[in-house]
């Protein structure tokens, strides 16, 4: 399995959670609160998950506008606002830390 960090602007949390639910992940996947400006306010939210190569392919295709079957049309635009980082060498907190460092975000 590959470790995935997925993050999106905080305003997109509900839609991102609904996408996760539509993919069978259950409710409330995006529980990691982030700040992109070092302040106390939450600017982004994230989740970490173990994903398959098929998911990575699907995610890339969806970002390019080819959405997975069954995904409600109203949720399709929200995928564009979800960013992803995938790693076969980093996992868990080490992966999250690396992503946050790269993108200048902090956990709130």
């Amino acid at each position: 399995m590959t470790s995935a960090i997925l993050w999106t602007p905080a305003a997109n949390r509900a839609a991102a959670d609904m996408i996760g639910a539509a993919l069978g992940w259950g409710e409330g996947s995006y529980t990691i609160d982030l700040s992109a400006d070092g302040g106390a306010s939450i600017t982004h939210v994230a989740c970490r998950a173990d994903v398959s190569p098929a998911f990575i392919d699907m995610f890339g295709a969806a970002k390019a506008g080819s959405y997975p079957p069954g995904l409600p049309e109203a949720l399709q635009p929200a995928i564009a606002a979800i960013e992803g980082d995938f790693s076969d060498t980093l996992w868990g907190a080490a992966h999250l830390t690396a992503v946050l460092d790269t993108h200048g975000m902090e956990r709130v």
Binding site: G26, E27, S29, C47, R48, G92, A93, L96, E106
Partner: protein, 384 residues
């Protein structure tokens, strides 16, 4: 009871004879029917000689069973009989796939490197379910047994006690074993997650403790206090599965632990000393700053327990309790004070020192408005 194994098993006899004698030895040592519990000739043979071919599942099942017996001891089941006897006691055992599942319904037994969706307590019919797949940790195993590996980012293992009672939360890990008193006022739901106990869900306790515990062999709760002997009993029961010793605290490293003076304190930007009350105050409005004491070089990669009373929190802003290198915040596992609701609490956490760390401090940004007191920094060591 001492059993001497005198049967030659070196190949002079046929497999059927060896099998019969192994059955007798197993039943003799562990009680009638024990071999049936082990159940599997292929697995026993693989256990005795790992070079022989056998299905991985057979090896794991029998290897786990024999390890759990700990040769005439059977430590985990003894724990339940000896310690976890109360109506509100629970014990989740991850060393064995039995009782751990890949689905929340509890119909698919867990296998190596699979997300743990449900675990059943060995007692009192309690179970933990995680319905959100991205919040599940992994269940992993080798020939010593199994363990639960939370990702320490968002994975959450939660369960409900039969009643909200004061007791002891138990985390047995391959890196160390940790016990923490948990107050009944926190309610019946126990959360073990990235900030164990998860401070944002209304509980409070030692944050980042999972980093010190490591891969988790068992999670338990025992109503009331545990004696030192009971703690040792629990930790040692899991030692055959790779369990680490019990985390304890070494002597205090800070010299100014009361804030009655400013001796050895560095008051960063925005911090003032309230001499009348013997506290430090950070009022909102000034630039970010760190109040700190730097007693000397910390041991790189050692774990430190840091604590502080947050007497009041008018505005949480961005407030962090941290190990520091000079005035620099170093550890990535920051202890974040997120809410005014935490006012009046003593907040504690664990951080691993990085090269250059020499003290602890509290960081506040321009929005932080807090009053703090009674800091503590103690190295953690573990033993039996």
């Amino acid at each position: 009871m001492t059993k001497l194994i005198t049967t030659p098993l070196g190949g002079a006899e046929g497999l059927a004879i060896i099998k019969t004698r192994l059955q007798a030895i197993t039943d003799g040592c562990f009680g009638t029917g024990a071999y049936a519990g082990a159940a599997n000739w292929g697995g026993v043979r693989a256990l005795l000689n790992p070079m022989l071919p056998a299905a991985i599942a057979n090896r794991e099942a029998v290897g786990s069973y024999i390890a759990k017996l700990n040769i005439l001891n059977n430590p985990v089941s003894r724990l339940v009989a000896a310690i976890f006897t109360g109506a509100n006691d629970v014990l989740f055992d991850f060393t064995d796939p039995v009782g751990n599942f890949a689905d929340t319904a509890g119909t698919v037994q867990i296998t190596h490197n699979t997300a743990l969706a449900r675990s059943n307590s060995l007692i009192n019919g309690v179970n933990s379910q995680q319905a959100t797949s991205s919040l599940r940790g992994l269940w992993m195993s080798d020939n010593t047994g199994g363990w639960y590996r939370p990702d320490q980012t968002d994975d959450l293992f939660a369960f409900n006690l039969p009643s909200a009672v004061t007791g002891t939360l138990i985390l047995v890990g391959r890196n160390g074993t940790y016990f923490e008193t948990r107050d009944a006022a926190l309610g019946a739901t126990v959360n073990v997650g990235w900030l164990t106990p998860h401070i944002r869900n209304g509980t409070y306790g030692k944050m980042n403790i999972l980093e010190a515990v490591g891969d988790v062999l068992a999670i338990g709760f025992k109503e009331g206090a545990l004696t030192d002997d009971q703690k040792l009993h629990i930790a040692r029961a899991f030692r055959p599965f790779g369990g680490g010793g019990i985390w304890t605290l070494e002597p205090e490293l800070l010299t100014n632990t009361t804030y009655t003076t400013t001796t050895n304190l560095t008051l960063g930007t925005g911090w003032t000393h309230d001499a009348g009350n013997g506290r430090a105050v950070r009022a909102a409005g000034s630039a970010q700053g760190v109040i700190r004491e730097n007693p000397g070089a910390l041991v790189t990669d050692a774990f430190y327990n840091i604590e502080m009373d947050f007497v009041s929190i008018t505005a949480a802003g961005t407030t962090r309790l941290q190990l520091v290198a000079g005035s620099a915040l170093t550890s990535t596992s920051k202890i974040i004070i997120t809410s005014t609701a935490l006012a009046g609490r003593r907040i504690s956490g664990v951080q691993k020192a990085v090269a250059g760390d020499d003290g602890m401090g509290v960081y506040g940004n321009s929005a932080t408005y807090v009053v703090i007191d009674n800091p503590s920094m103690r190295r953690m060591t573990k033993g039996w």
